[in-house]
Amino acid sequence: MKKDNRITGLIALAVVTILAFVIIFATKEVTKDGNDGATTTTTENTTPAIEYDLEDIDVAGAEGIQAAAKLSDKAGEFVGYVVTASQAGYGGDIIMDVYFDTDATTITSVVVKEHKETANLGSKIEEPEFLNQFNGITAPVYFEGMELPEESETEDPVEASNPTDSTVLVDGIYKVEADAVDDKGYLYMLTMVVENGAITSVVWDSMNQAGEYKSYLSSVGKYVMVEGNPTWKEQADALAANVIENQSTEGIVLNDQGKSDSVAGVSITVSNFVDLVEKGLVLASNGATTETAGAVTESPAATKVDAVTYATISSKGMINGINNAYNFIKGYASGK
């Protein structure tokens, strides 16, 4: 009886095991096409039909950039750029070609060359419905809920704002304001103009609640600090000249009281000036013009796009790759 029970148990176990193998094998066969770990090349979205002449651009040291080239048509006319970027997706790296117009900002098309995303989900990044939304828009791009694209590799705005050999300022007019009025009721603001990658103008001012500017009040004698000393506007202009000369705030060394002895004739508190200049430099390095400092929820320079539903990581990989390509080609175009 006991032996029969054991034999029955062994037979039952054998049957269950065989069935299990059959089920697993059948599952493998059924899901083979959908779960292929090999890279897939795009079939729906192809490279643009026009053939271009390519002039390679050096990408050595550029993280996430595999190749880049200047595009010329058959007549030899410069028509834009193409950057091959690689970015981590959900299943592996996504490799894409991002085509830019001659301004190195407008995206003409995006082509997914390789990816390992989940079939029928993340793989939708190669479908025209997703890719066509990039045609003709300006970079950088983002989708809802995503952090705004930042070009600087460091998250510290102070560190990012001090121009180094690798920081490129984008031409434009940048306006920044303090987050709040000071204890005397003045709201400080700064306008910085960048031309050909260099700061050419800095205007620092502040406005009270009556709408009167300190520069005006000091000029007409209604805002006097110390008799005989330069007016507030003259001191603000001196600070601005120092920034233009040094192309940074390095020439202004702050003490514990927020003042500086670095600039001749300047005795006013300059900490908020330095703060606004550095915020302006951050905006200039991102190309985000006419934006106020402080909490920024939307950058006018960034274009909002739609992500693939339920494939956030794949979509984010694409967006990051496109923005990385944009940063690279913008840096190249500004520096050439």
Binding site: G9, A20, G34, L121
Partner: protein
């Protein structure tokens, strides 16, 4: 009274697959299906030797579990799938097998199914809430776009919090409490798959070890303190430990 539904399997599933209502619905169905299948195999082979019975239940539930998760998640209702997710789905199957083979496992399938149904309902509800709070939609249909909505509602740390709360709700409805389950069986696989932080400029192995050791060490320490806390019966053991690890994840993720 003791819990008769596979609470650990539901806990792991709620943490991982309640990001949206569709995922929650499908995973809940598969858990109930696998639990019932395992119970049927166990009942049919109940007369054989215990060791052989256990192996048979293990093989049948794990193989069918692998098959259904793969087919459903890849072919029928495509969702994000990779090796990590597959291993975690196998872990869910393992927890179902563990539940079925404990000596306290319910002989009456009706009780087990009733409690599983309550857990399933709560699973769907938290999936709905998380999806709405994250992207303002329910089952993929956009409902609203409010200022508080953020993708972080679909993160693992929120998964822990919602899973703990949902299980507490289930236990309160069925008026039972957890007695002797080891929450580490649920927490450790998630920590292995989704570490709360990464260390830069250290080796991959050191990064991996530290990223796993610290959260587990913290939750083990917290468990001893929780023994002495006065909580409602519904929250005791697994639910409150999941909520605690969720808070730990929140803190560690900040780094």
């Amino acid at each position: 009274m003791k819990i008769k539904y596979p609470i650990e399997a539901f806990a792991l599933a709620m943490i991982l697959f309640s990001k949206n209502m569709k995922e929650a619905l499908i995973t809940g169905i598969l858990i109930v299906f696998l639990t019932t299948l395992g119970w049927v195999v166990k009942d049919c082979l109940g007369h054989i030797k215990l060791g052989l019975l256990r192996i048979s239940v293990f093989i049948s539930v794990m193989s069918v579990g692998y098959a259904v998760f793969q087919i459903v998640f890849i072919k029928i209702v495509p969702m994000e799938m990779n090796t990590t997710i597959m291993l975690l789905q196998l872990m869910i199957g393992l927890l179902i097998v563990k539940h079925l083979l404990t000596k306290d496992a319910e002989e009456n399938v009706n009780v087990m199914l009733y409690e599983s149904a309550i857990a399933f309902a709560c699973f769907i509800v938290i999936g709905m809430i998380r999806e709405f709070c994250a992207i303002g939609s329910i089952f993929g249909f956009k409902i609203a776009d409010l200022s508080f909505m953020t993708e972080n509602f679909q993160s693992i740390m929120i998964g822990f919090l919602f899973a703990g709360a949902a299980l507490a709700l289930v236990n309160a409805i069925i008026k039972k409490r957890v007695y002797s389950l080891n929450s580490l069986l649920v927490i450790v696989p998630v920590v292995l798959a989704f570490r709360p932080f990464e260390l830069n400029d250290v080796g991959d192995i050191i990064n991996f070890v530290i990223g796993i050791f610290i959260p587990i060490f913290i939750i083990v320490s917290i468990r001893y303190k929780l023994i002495f806390s006065s909580l409602g019966n519904a929250f005791k053991k697994l639910p409150i430990e999941l909520i605690s690890i969720g808070i730990v994840y929140m803190i560690l993720t900040a780094f």
